[in-house]
Subunit: 116 residues, 2 copies
DNA sequence: ATGATAAGTGAGAAGCGTTCTCACTTCCTG
DNA sequence: CAGGAAGTGAGAACGCTTCTCACTTATCAT
């Protein structure tokens, strides 16, 4: 895969177009929408105004760590503190779902940084 | 304030224009950008393709609970479990920042639901 | 008060990502 | 082969956001 991490629809269109001449942008968007619906793809933010997507093979509940250095997206366990959610419930709110995106430096980039 | 919770640039433009004739959309976007930069406003998602913003008076680190019924946005304590973040660190990643949005039903809507 | 400069504004054009439309092709079934 | 469903590419259309430009207002020194 040409995209180790996050990518935009345009990235994908450019790359796919290089391999198979004449793949329409509409087809790319259609495929992306279908994959998002199927849970194989997740939106992890945006870059230059376009939606940033990431492959998302895991079936279980998880979230994403976006490496600010190389753009790689890593799936991580849900880091929510359930005690804090219960505190919100005590205040009268009812939390039904949540979205979390972590930003930081992935293991690979961290090693390279240390080596330097 | 006419907006108890989340609103879009167009919402604001429409409301401001009702009070002061002829406020340009550009001015609204400029003001919103400035307020976001100053931390008085936060992006909490999107609705119909346009960015959803919410007032954000608190100075301390917090996140938002978006009521899916009335659209109100409530500030909540950061519900991140620091033990889980440390687990990510142990795997080699370095988490520097995060974004969390909780979705659910606010206290007011929950009461109304119970009353019915 | 006057003039110079900076800062802010509205109107509308432009840019750009995304979605929609439509004619066309491919595949499947009988 | 006929008929229909499903998928596709090209490009137009849409709508949010940003940019541009002429204009107004505020500030300050003279």
């Amino acid at each position: 895969m040409a995209f180790p991490g996050a990518f935009t629809a345009e990235d994908l269109h450019r790359t796919v177009g290089r391999r198979a001449e004449g793949v329409g942008l509409a087809t790319v968007y259609r495929a992306l929408a279908a994959m998002q619906e199927a849970g194989a793809l997740a939106s992890v933010g945006e870059r230059d105004g376009s939606t940033l997507l990431a492959r998302c093979g895991r079936d279980d509940h998880h979230h994403h760590l976006v490496c600010t250095t190389c753009g790689t997206v890593v799936g991580v366990e849900c880091p929510l503190d359930h005690a804090a959610l219960e505190a919100a419930t005590r205040e009268g709110h009812l939390v039904t779902s949540h979205e979390i995106t972590l930003y930081g430096v992935c293991a690979v980039c961290r090693d390279q940084k240390d080596a330097r």
